[in-house]
Amino acid sequence: MPIHEKSLIRPENLLTHEQLTIEGVDVSGHWSTFIQSRVVTDYNEALQDEIAALPGGEFIHRCWQCGSCTNSCTVNAINPDFNPRYWIYLIRMGLEEELLHDKDIVWQCVSCNKCTYACPRDVNPEGVMKATAHWLELKGHTATKPSMQFDEIFSEQVFATGKIEEGRVLRRFLARSGQPLLQDWLVALVRGLVRRLPVTFLMRLGLASLVRPRTRGWGRARDAIAGYVAERKAADRAALGLGPQGAKR
């Protein structure tokens, strides 16, 4: 079945009739399943351009649907619904409604770059996944996903001080994503660690969480970065036709 007909076999698009006659032939009952005929009118003709306007999506137009990305994909091996080739197809066709069926898994791309390695057309599918996840959030189709929360917390620290401290990233992320700090496996990990670790190492970790590591002379870089981030955010929103505040849920 061609990839563009995949949606036709979704349960909601399959019909079974008690009473149905087509061109004089009685086809009632469950002996077969009928695909409801339909005309697609809701193409979003701007979809490809919008994805291409976001960082990472620039080369989506190069795709010739060979499927190397999905074939090599780390996440697809775990969840067959994670299908970069299919999403690239939907975006290029403007089939926004179909794309939205998978809006809650696009963010799960682990950036292993196997797709980028395999792609014969330099589409940069990894970048397209990130651009698409970004697009879904900017358009208000999904809430900020855990990976983006993590990216934001991590980046905020880099921008502020030039460096990160992992304990701080961990604590902030668990707090922002509403997870408890004392999860079984984290506790087990720390217990094992404390039992064996040299005191000097524990002190170093403790010290780092109190006195944040920072890059000396970072102030001007911090300001330059802040200006650039604001500029980029505005540009991304403008490319999607969103106002400064936009369609945040």
Partner: protein
């Protein structure tokens, strides 16, 4: 063997000052034991890891360009990064600055505002800790210095994603015999084999550990890591050797999580390749920071007369 790698600029990165401290310590100790000099970059900044690029890729390019400009300012033309994330980002910045005008424009603008020299592609060569030891000392040089052979130790060498992908940012790889391969890397295998270890055939050398989502999508990461661990065991490995702090910590964390959450226990040990090399060079387990690893491999090492 390359004389110019005997003294290089050293970019440890954030992870090596935190959870990956054992990698930092063992890298320095191995360097010392081999007579190689490392000079740490002054006032380096975070490379952005796998996170800043999702805010904006060119900002990530800037972060690495700043580090490269520091290396240049310090008079170095080679910078060594043991962390795959740092290494990858320096390489990516080098590639983007050489090939993309927009990246050059953004980096130029930000560098000027930040008040430092704008780094230009081609001034500083980025190498990994594997390149460093392989090129400066080589297998023969290493063999001659081994005091405590790793003989009998079966190792699965795990390189992860960022050491080889995407291929275009590593122009020196895939150059045929002697060069590193992006599909089947072997530099770590070569070095550990020279130290006496038996490197097992491990098909998941460059598979992904889910490091980017180790906390934000933990179940996916645990599944990926469990696959790496069970496959290493099926290949007969006692130890998985790592060369990236994110992979290393991910393997350790999700080994525990797989047991606690999925009820799947695995026994394979996880050690940095520099820890293994250090012990082969006669350094104690303590010197190479084995106690700083999250996972406990002391039983195995004692049984093998290492450390």
């Amino acid at each position: 063997m390359t004389e110019k790698y005997r003294k290089v600029a050293y970019y440890p990165g954030c992870a090596l000052e935190g959870t990956g401290h054992a990698y930092n310590r063992s890298t320095k100790e191995v360097g010392k034991a081999l007579g190689l000099d490392l000079v740490e970059l002054k006032n380096w900044n975070c490379c952005g890891a796998m996170e800043v690029k999702n805010i904006d890729p060119k900002l990530q390019t800037y972060l690495s360009a700043r580090n490269l400009s520091i290396a240049e300012e310090m008079g170095f033309d080679v910078v060594m990064a043991p962390c795959n994330g740092c290494y990858h980002n320096l390489k990516k910045a080098e590639y983007d600055l050489a090939h993309d005008g927009e990246s050059r424009e953004v980096v130029g603008r930000l560098s000027q505002k930040a008040g430092h020299e704008t780094y230009e592609a081609g001034k500083v060569e980025t190498i990994h800790a594997l390149d460093w030891i392989k090129e400066a000392i080589g297998e023969e040089g290493l063999k001659a210095r081994v005091k405590n052979s790793l003989q009998g130790l079966k190792i699965a060498n795990y390189y992860g994603c960022m050491y080889t992908r995407p291929r275009h940012i590593f122009p020196e790889k895939d150059k045929g015999p002697g060069s590193e391969s992006t599909s089947k890397p072997h530099f770590m295998d070569d070095l550990l084999a020279a130290a006496g270890a038996e490197c097992v055939e491990y098909p998941l050398k460059t598979a992904c550990c889910g490091g980017a989502h180790t906390l934000s999508d933990s179940d996916t990461s645990t599944k990926l890591v469990l696959n790496l661990l069970t496959t290493a065991e099926a290949c007969g490995a006692d130890v998985i050797a790592t060369e990236c702090p994110t992979c290393h910590t991910g393997l350790e964390m999700h080994q525990v999580r797989a047991e606690k959450v999925f009820g799947r226990k695995t026994k394979v040990k996880i050690l940095y390749f520099t820890q293994l090399l250090g012990m082969a060079l006669g350094l104690s387990a303590r010197r190479v920071g084995v106690a700083e690893n999250l996972s406990d491999s002391s039983d195995l090492l004692r049984a093998r007369g290492l450390g």
